[in-house]
Symmetry: D2
Subunit: 357 residues, 4 copies
Amino acid sequence: MNTIGKRFRVTTFGESHGNGIGCVIDGIPAGLFIDVEFLQNELNRRRGGQNLYSTQRKEDDKIEILSGVFEGFSTGSPIGMFIANKNTKSSDYDDIKDIFRPSHADFTYFYKYGIRDYRGGGRSSARESVARVASGAIAKLLLKEFNITTKSGIYQIGEVKASNIDFDFARQSEIFSLDKEVESAQKELVKKAKESHDSIGGVALICANNVPLGLGEPLYYKLDSAIGEAMLGLNGVKAVEIGSGVESSTKLGSQNNDYISKNGFMSNNSGGILGGISNGDEIYLKVHFKPTPSIFRTQKSIDKNNNEIELRLKGRHDPCIAIRGSVVAESLLSIIIADALLLNTTSKIEYLKKIYI
Amino acid sequence: MNTIGKRFRVTTFGESHGNGIGCVIDGIPAGLFIDVEFLQNELNRRRGGQNLYSTQRKEDDKIEILSGVFEGFSTGSPIGMFIANKNTKSSDYDDIKDIFRPSHADFTYFYKYGIRDYRGGGRSSARESVARVASGAIAKLLLKEFNITTKSGIYQIGEVKASNIDFDFARQSEIFSLDKEVESAQKELVKKAKESHDSIGGVALICANNVPLGLGEPLYYKLDSAIGEAMLGLNGVKAVEIGSGVESSTKLGSQNNDYISKNGFMSNNSGGILGGISNGDEIYLKVHFKPTPSIFRTQKSIDKNNNEIELRLKGRHDPCIAIRGSVVAESLLSIIIADALLLNTTSKIEYLKKIYI
Amino acid sequence: MNTIGKRFRVTTFGESHGNGIGCVIDGIPAGLFIDVEFLQNELNRRRGGQNLYSTQRKEDDKIEILSGVFEGFSTGSPIGMFIANKNTKSSDYDDIKDIFRPSHADFTYFYKYGIRDYRGGGRSSARESVARVASGAIAKLLLKEFNITTKSGIYQIGEVKASNIDFDFARQSEIFSLDKEVESAQKELVKKAKESHDSIGGVALICANNVPLGLGEPLYYKLDSAIGEAMLGLNGVKAVEIGSGVESSTKLGSQNNDYISKNGFMSNNSGGILGGISNGDEIYLKVHFKPTPSIFRTQKSIDKNNNEIELRLKGRHDPCIAIRGSVVAESLLSIIIADALLLNTTSKIEYLKKIYI
Amino acid sequence: MNTIGKRFRVTTFGESHGNGIGCVIDGIPAGLFIDVEFLQNELNRRRGGQNLYSTQRKEDDKIEILSGVFEGFSTGSPIGMFIANKNTKSSDYDDIKDIFRPSHADFTYFYKYGIRDYRGGGRSSARESVARVASGAIAKLLLKEFNITTKSGIYQIGEVKASNIDFDFARQSEIFSLDKEVESAQKELVKKAKESHDSIGGVALICANNVPLGLGEPLYYKLDSAIGEAMLGLNGVKAVEIGSGVESSTKLGSQNNDYISKNGFMSNNSGGILGGISNGDEIYLKVHFKPTPSIFRTQKSIDKNNNEIELRLKGRHDPCIAIRGSVVAESLLSIIIADALLLNTTSKIEYLKKIYI
């Protein structure tokens, strides 16, 4: 069950403190130029260890392409990629090998599998998301051919929300803040949390533009459904909102409906999706991340033998997983849209005729 | 793509104004007693036409079992079920066959497929959810064997929220309200929306209890991920929250973490899921429904030839889809947990040995 | 696991002596004219009870379309179909409910599931193949749009082989014999087997013509691989040969290789498939059916309590399952090729550009 | 489509002359001891370059485990494995980059994808099968826990067949011959073919023992169906026979049926499978390999521009692919049975109760 996508299929493997993280992408049409520099840049956006708002684990995250590319182009064969782990400090985790960190996957992995790679959280670590970004980068290369773009940023930290959304600003902001005006207040919250050995939650805003009308497969692989699956599969995500999201549930139909003029939709509460299918408008969604569960304060927990303990963690962790998580969410959205683009090729006879006749 | 589940696999078919709605459930273990009366009762919970808070379309929703059951028990063969459409009034829809209802799937289906069954929304109608409830009822029968239960109710209508949650009360409430104290205020909002030819949004709360520790498949079919996929695949759902949900993004780690004592978790912000795997605690989630898009007020839209029009709908619609939607959401949660229960049987060698040795 | 195909997905349900046999076909492009008369004709080709070479069970096999078709055309929604069972004589099977017929699925179903619908073999009956033919007929309608055709006939009964292959003759032959010259000898063998309360094996030859170059997905859903899966999933099939088949294993490379001229392949030992991908030449294969296991002679077996018994069957059975099986095999080949046609739409960027740009 | 298996899922990647061949195995239960020495031994069985009956390409085929194993045991996370390519001589293939080798995948890959990695056949090379053997070795480790074994050998080369089957002898034979008496005659045929710059076909016999009664999923993932899919997906395989195979089609029911006594089946024409489900008896099958298409004689073909050419290949190839292919076929059978073992855990409620109650 380590696979996402139906036609653009990504399978990942690897653990936080093993050899590295890898992925296999199956279903990429032949003839796509695989721009390795672009892939590396995408990985760099997610990379930690760059500033005080992220983990201090410094990985160079150098991407290695193992297969599926010949003379620069995709061949139709699966693309294997690998990113080695270099900056592991497994000894940090010796203390926790017999105990369960609160609100962590330690507890559930141990009881599900009867065995647990405790080093850095093993497979459950956010380190795995490097493979999602690498795969998302390939998806972006495919989407680019059709002028489709995706973008992301931090909408909210704690209670501080963006109001003037600026995705260009977000790309340069150390915390990917979407609003120049609130960036420093948001940074302050992260810093304060970190200084008090705590962590803080946040919200990412993710968009896709120029998505062709008609993507999304009814009724059980709707575009919003697939997006929801992807986002809630991301570590620490506790809620997803499409379009007007939670607000829509408080509205009247006459307030929430998007009327249509000959120039298109007159509002976009739908978030670009109707009946699970893209309507040609901007797709946007909010992804809510809980605060990083690994905090450095004293916490109550138990060990494997059900003894109560007080624990104080070591290790290196992001004080706010929403920040780097926003890049991963953008990557996942790219994968879902690429998948929908491939799936939609068989929606009508007319399309098949364009290919075969 | 009309299938949900990996091992407990439900495939549905049928349209609002066609012969009926059917489903095939594949993967049900042999030897399960298929209690037809229970199935019918579940369908009755979702049935409309019962009171002024739901559609006036009256279907008897009689379930017919077509296969897979022998002398009352499942045989391991796929269970086919069918629910005939009887109370269709297709003429109500003649007026809209060339126009697009705002915030409806009309527009996207037409452009995706180049053809559209406009009668009652065709395949995109909430009528299809009767198959989800029928399948969910089979899932519940399976879960019962392991003492796992699911339940649901209306948490919020417009801005009116429940505070004293009472699932027993919800089962009797005409609007499935979870709180006796706010039921009449919630009803009033629905009634007012209806009287002004409008509709209103709402929020359902869904729970599962006694879910064994260890269900959910990392990392791309996490329990929360699968739940998110299912819920966002439900008509009109614009947001899903697991556990503390959107609130978690405003919290500090020290506030949001669930500490553990030898008697179990000391709080449940996780909503019973850690790292995508059930932790043995109650699973709970909130599902946000937008207001029904079909309202009876004048709206702006376009027709197939991109001419601007003003439309006034006819037809029969729920003034608040959250109400009956809550039953469907509960059914979907049952399916997802049943699927996870089946998937988990191969998680460790020890389980296989219990079966084969 | 009652599903075949990846993009043209057929799910079947139903048992020999239940309400009927049904199927759901998901993934059919919108805009295909669903010619119901053609579907019925296809079902009639497989129908038994017509002559002394097939079962005496007479079913009218009337097809009922439950969904997915609007004003004659496919809508992109799943097509549900149902064929009622009418001529069941379950009492024929009372005697065998506690015993296992030799070389039958009785034994394995009972031990796998702990329960068994013994009436007419339940789900394991060849009756289920009516759904394969119905689905195959839809596949044929799709293939026709691209001028692709499939055909079949009986190549061999016992040791009597066809030499002058004539598919047109086969369509009129009561035993679908491919060779006018040997038809009577083949008939004689079937008749003789039947008269001596026995049954006989046979071989079907199946072809597909005008299959576009390039269909088939490497490396684990190769066209031949998918064909093999489909054919060996058909009741009573014990061997499948693609192209030169078993003979190829006795040859030298210089004898078996197909040289290429500017006008195409100079021979066709490959059977139209190279590296799992169609090469534009005729696809052909042989499907070997064992003799019907249900014979009316005294046989040795056991009952549920492991007591040895001598049994003499009642019931109505084909004396040679290869005959009607050939039609089912042709249907399955149509499904596989339709699936490959849909899958291939994403094989290169160029195809996507034809659709989206 | 580079994945095989439903619950024991193997995804492979890599090309003949790229970095190497890799695979990801998903679905392995936690707690399995991963015996790396055993894995390496399995790879060594398939390894070429050892004697004059195989390719002269010498790869050390050293297995590298990238993930999913912790302190020697499987963790439930996907197992990534990689085998580097070291002994590539890509220059051998410069001459063929614009031409199509007869009976090779060159032609179909080029036209399907519009691009082709011509070096050593790229993805279509038998080199990929090293990943199948590595995955099969993991499957064997799982099967061992339940005392299930698989074995293989060469049954036939050209027209020379084994009669006294001896699997132990086959393991030591340079050509894996199953019969001491015919080994030298079989070797002679291979040698002669090789000396005349030709190649020769052959047949492998594959068995599985102690397979529990009840494995295999009806009706579209039957055990024989899944085996057929796997075997026909192997390079150069043109026919598969289960049990009495092609012979069964010439028999009467009274000859072919396997009677049952209280001690079990009295014959095994079924090859251990009834109705797609294992019956507890030995599973056996024959896999027919065509002669290697790469021969070193002058052949007629065309180039990319449809010019007729005469070609004489260089490169290193097996004179008889059946020999090493037999090991791969055995590996694939192991994967299919492991998959069936996992799938069967949900066949009856009773099994679930053993786990959960």
